[in-house]
């Protein structure tokens, strides 16, 4: 069976757009640095979803899959580093409130 007609590509794109927008919202609205990192993950997921969907629908090979795999890997790496930094912030500030970080400005 071909599911191509059943689930149009646009469905996936909608989901990914929603994830992307929610990720942006999370990043901008959340005060907590860790929550902001979650927003990043949402965005990465939305992009990955796009890659895989396009791979399936319009491209017809696995390059999108591979891209997604690398993104996932790098997301992990980034998360690790970010965690390190957030912990450092916590050590120095006793808090991870992004709004409080305005020692550098102007």
């Amino acid at each position: 069976m071909s599911l191509l007609d059943a689930y149009p590509l646009q469905h996936y794109l909608l989901v990914s757009a929603a994830l992307f927008a929610l990720g942006i919202f999370t990043l901008v609205a959340r005060k907590n640095a860790v929550a902001m990192l979650m927003g990043v993950e949402l965005i990465l997921n939305s992009a990955n979803l796009n890659f895989v969907a396009f791979s399936r629908y319009t491209v017809g090979n696995f390059s999108g899959h591979l891209f997604a795999i690398f993104v996932i890997l790098l997301a992990a790496a980034e998360a690790a580093v970010a965690l390190g930094i957030v912990i450092g912030i916590f050590q120095n500030y006793g808090d991870v409130d992004a709004d409080a970080l305005d020692g550098l400005k102007g």
Partner: protein, 170 residues
Amino acid sequence: MTTLTSALYHAAFYADMVLTVGSACVVAFSKNIVRSAFSLLLTFVGVAGLYGFLEADFLVATQLLIYVGGILVLLLFAVMLTHRISNIKASNETSFSALAALAATGIFLVLVEVGTKTHWDVKGGPLGESTRPIGLLLMGDYLLPFEVAAMILLAALIGAAYLARNAIRK
């Protein structure tokens, strides 16, 4: 395929979509950071499900292993390490919500417009089983990216270790 299975299949697909977006909403809007973190788990799972619907079996596994097993755990660690147990619940306030909503809505509308208005050249059929070809590609054309990813992970490892070393010792 029978109508029922088809209906179930459809139901599952839309449920997955709703789950994904809904849990992402919880991530975005929840006042509780822990709830956000666990909703994120659901989102990841939902995305993995969507991968499944896209017949990307290897990715489903990767998503679950790395995201759910790795990244989410890291995030939870972060939550734990950066919150005193006492006030773990009340620590996910928002600010600039209006600005954020504006930005998010704007970009969402643009992306929806892009996704729907474009006439996508849909041509490919099912790709079939993906693990083996991916493996081959990783050892062939994608060898360099693979190695580079390794270097990135190495750097991230060393960097994260450096950053966290003292902090955790303290």
